[in-house]
Amino acid sequence: MLLIPCPWCGPREEAEFHYGGQAHVAYPDDPSALSDEEWARYLFFRDNPKGRFAERWSHSAGCRRWFNAVRDTATNEIHAVYRVGEARPVTS
């Protein structure tokens, strides 16, 4: 069980959260201008690093807010959490 620090509520157990995949995937400015391949790339292609990964989480059983977290995919250590709209903090 991970202990995930919600930027609003503080540390809560993992069971209160839902995972939302990679963070900072911007919606295309003009989706209709994209080729099928570009659109598919936006929809389905995500980074899959071994190490620190900025990803979205929702505190679904708590304050129900979405936020971002930098989690190490190899160790599960969470290096930072930050609110929607904030830039990814430098975690070295």
Binding site: W8, G10, A61, G62, C63, R64
Partner: protein, 187 residues
């Protein structure tokens, strides 16, 4: 007129029996008025809401304020739960957000309220809740949305116990769970 029946009404007798020893008091507080208020806390509408409530909207996560017979609990950065006695009239609150961007929605039927009080209240809840419920960190003036026995609840600490707000459709399950969790504390 149809007779109203509260979600945990069937447990009244068992709650009373479990409360007899004095170690614990279990009861349903049915039909409280509950209002979901959403408004930008920096807006004029929020000031008007605060004026109607008689208290500023708490902006610190996990806190609640009391104003007379009202309790205002933080649910999110732009969302609060106002708990009021049965029959509370909230036209003025509605009016406070009418001009600005905000909403006041009657969610009284969404959850019912269970009282878990008495010397063993914290021990009983701790069987199914991961939060630190000690009064030094979670006393009156705090609130939390979390899970209790895997069920989503809003917890509001009181002077000698907790109000547990639970969805109506989960109330019977949680009531049964509370009675089971209480067993070892009632000897």
């Amino acid at each position: 007129m149809a007779e109203r029946r509260s979600p945990a009404a069937a447990f009244a007798g068992r709650f009373e029996t479990a409360s007899a020893s004095g170690a614990l008091r279990l009861a349903e507080l049915p039909f409280l008025t509950q209002l979901n208020v959403r408004v930008d806390p920096a807006s004029l509408a929020a000031d008007e809401v605060a004026g109607v409530l008689g208290a500023p909207l708490p902006t610190e996560p996990g806190t609640a304020v009391r104003s007379g017979e009202l309790t205002v609990a933080w649910l999110g950065p732009d969302e609060w739960l106002v708990i009021a006695p049965e029959g509370f009239r909230y036209e003025l609150l509605r009016k406070a957000v009418a001009d600005g961007r905000g909403s006041v929605v009657d969610v009284s039927a969404q959850r019912t309220t269970l009282l878990v009080a008495g010397p063993r209240a914290r021990d009983v809840l701790a069987h199914g809740c991961a939060l630190d419920l000690h009064p030094s960190v979670f006393g009156p003036g705090r609130c939390a949305q979390t899970t209790l026995a895997r069920t989503q609840v809003v917890l509001l600490p009181q002077q000698d116990g907790f109000l547990v707000l639970v969805r109506s459709s989960f109330a019977a399950y949680l009531a049964a769970w509370l009675l089971d969790a209480a067993t070892e504390h009632l000897l």
